[in-house]
């Protein structure tokens, strides 16, 4: 199941300036990773990724690495998947918040993702990178703000590919659900995964703060049972 686009229009702004800027920045930094860093990847990741043991020892980049890790990706598929999800779920969340508070929320979700990851996998020496924690925060926020929203989705489970408009609730629950079992197995020490499932869950829980970040009118709409 691959979400492609949110077909609903914006209410408050014409252009999702910050969402596009984040996509461009992530892509540009990935190009820098590929073209300049290339082989010397380990020291680069230790400096600019989030490594739980280093965070807990207050070593390395700390808050700076927390930001840079959100903009690093391990491969083209990692980048494309995250940027597609950022576009699908970020555009209308930005519309409801305004660009700068949207950026603040995005960074907060990414930071809480790193906090969860660090607490749960406290003895890990493997650095975590990627925007997915922040993007899971956006998915949670989208669900809070637009529970009835529909997302154009590519479904590949059927013999022929279909692209229906699926309720955002099912898509977000699907992506949330596939984190649960691996997260429990990590917690019980039964398995290691290259995907940072606890960061995803941590980012998702950041959605509880989304109401703080809304524009005044969007906030009033939220509490008036009308579409945000």
């Amino acid at each position: 199941m691959l979400p492609l686009n949110d077909t609903e229009p914006n209410r408050y702004s014409y252009f999702p300036f910050m969402t596009v800027l984040l996509i461009v920045t992530n892509s540009f930094i990935f190009l820098v990773e590929v073209l300049i860093v290339r082989t010397d990847f380990w020291p680069f990741l230790m400096r600019y990724g989030v490594t739980p043991t280093l965070i807990l020892d207050a070593q390395g980049g700390g808050a700076l690495s927390n930001i840079t890790a959100m903009f690093l990706h391990g491969g083209l598929d990692h980048l494309l998947g995250n940027m597609l999800a950022l576009w699908v779920f970020g555009r209308r969340v930005e519309d409801a918040c305004g660009p700068w508070r949207f950026l603040t929320f995005y960074l907060l979700a990414g930071t809480l993702a790193h906090v969860f990851f660090t607490i749960v996998q406290h003895d890990s020496i493997i650095p975590g990178i990627g925007a997915s924690g922040a993007i899971f925060g956006l998915m949670g926020a989208y669900l809070v703000l637009y529970p009835g929203g529909r997302i154009r989705t590519l479904v590949l489970f059927t013999p022929l590919p279909l692209w229906p408009r699926v309720r955002a609730l099912w898509i977000v629950l699907y992506f949330f659900g596939i984190q649960i079992i691996p997260a429990i197995r990590i917690l019980r020490g039964e398995a290691d995964y290259s995907i940072n499932h606890w960061a995803h869950l941590g980012g998702f829980f950041a959605a509880i703060f989304i109401l703080l970040f809304l524009r005044p009118e969007a906030f009033a709409r939220y509490f008036s049972d009308t579409p945000v």
Partner: protein, 289 residues
């Protein structure tokens, strides 16, 4: 391009202050669709000539005779026209009598001078949650104003408030919006500070250093929130000697100050991170299955 798209473009141009472009776009719409009420409505505020304004209003009323606001506006325009006609007549009479004195056109000044006050009153009613009264005040203002830009602004406010009423949007006090929005940057700053000190405030006392900078972030975030939420606030009077909800200039200055207060503590923390990175010994790469 459809008329809907043209209307949107025209509205954007009008809001951006490109009156001539906006007028040209709405003229295209009414050329194609002479019964487009919305386009004629916009034209009532965009055309300069009094006669043209009257024609635009009459066209709106031909299409929709129930449009009360335009009726009131048209009455005002007709009064203006009559006043100008009588003024011209008296001037002609004076010329005929070969009088050398000329009377400056002051007849309309007292009424237009009241418009900013009325606008401020209407805004304050809205910020106080008295939407019905605010709507009435805006409607009176629409009838009073002679400046097409003010009329556009007032008309947009009326449409917006009517929309809020129609959708039964609850009133949220501006003070609570300011409080809510003020919490955003400090929340992010506190989470950064936790990461910076290894999630352990007891083991790393530098947390209290970063905590000491938190009030600066709170102040900056508060200034940003005040600059965005439109309301009467003591800050406008104290800092800018302005009544009402702050001018555009005051808002920009306050927002800039807010950004400085917010960003300085973040910048200090990131500089500290950079210093830590410079002394950082990179551990060897582990064997990974």
């Amino acid at each position: 391009m459809t008329s809907g798209e043209l209307l949107r473009l025209g509205a954007e141009a009008a809001r951006a202050g490109r009156r001539l472009d906006a007028r040209a776009i709405f003229m295209r719409v009414v050329d194609a669709e002479p019964h487009n009420e919305v386009a004629w409505m916009w034209l009532t505020g965009l055309v300069d000539d009094l006669e043209d304004k009257i024609i635009a209003c009459e066209n709106v009323l031909t299409i929709n005779p129930a449009n009360e606001r335009v009726k009131v506006y048209l009455e005002t325009l007709l009064q203006q026209k009559a006043a100008i006609a009588s003024q011209l007549a008296s001037e002609n009479k004076v010329k005929v009598q070969q009088s050398a004195t000329s009377v400056p056109p002051q007849a309309t000044e007292p009424r237009s001078a009241k418009v900013p006050d009325l606008l401020s009153q209407a805004e304050q009613l809205e910020y106080g949650g008295k939407i019905e009264e605010a709507l009435k005040a805006y409607e009176q203002l629409a009838a009073k104003t002679k400046d097409s830009q003010t009329f556009d602004h007032v008309y947009r406010q009326i449409v917006r408030l009517e929309g809020l009423q129609r959708e039964k949007i609850r009133f949220v006090p501006p003070a609570s919006s300011i409080l809510r929005m003020t919490l955003t940057w400090p929340l992010l700053y506190a989470s950064f500070a936790l990461i910076q000190i290894g999630l352990n405030p007891i083991a790393h006392l530098s947390f209290f250093l970063w905590l000491g900078l938190l009030p600066i972030v709170v102040l900056g975030s508060f200034l940003l929130a005040v600059s965005e939420v439109r309301t009467r606030h003591v800050i406008w009077k104290k800092l800018f000697l302005e009544e009402g909800s702050g001018s555009g200039f005051a808002r920009i200055v306050l927002a800039l100050a807010g950004w400085v207060f917010v960003l300085v503590p973040f910048a200090l923390m990131l500089m500290n991170s950079l210093a830590r990175l410079q002394n950082f010994q990179i551990p060897p790469e582990p064997f990974i299955r």
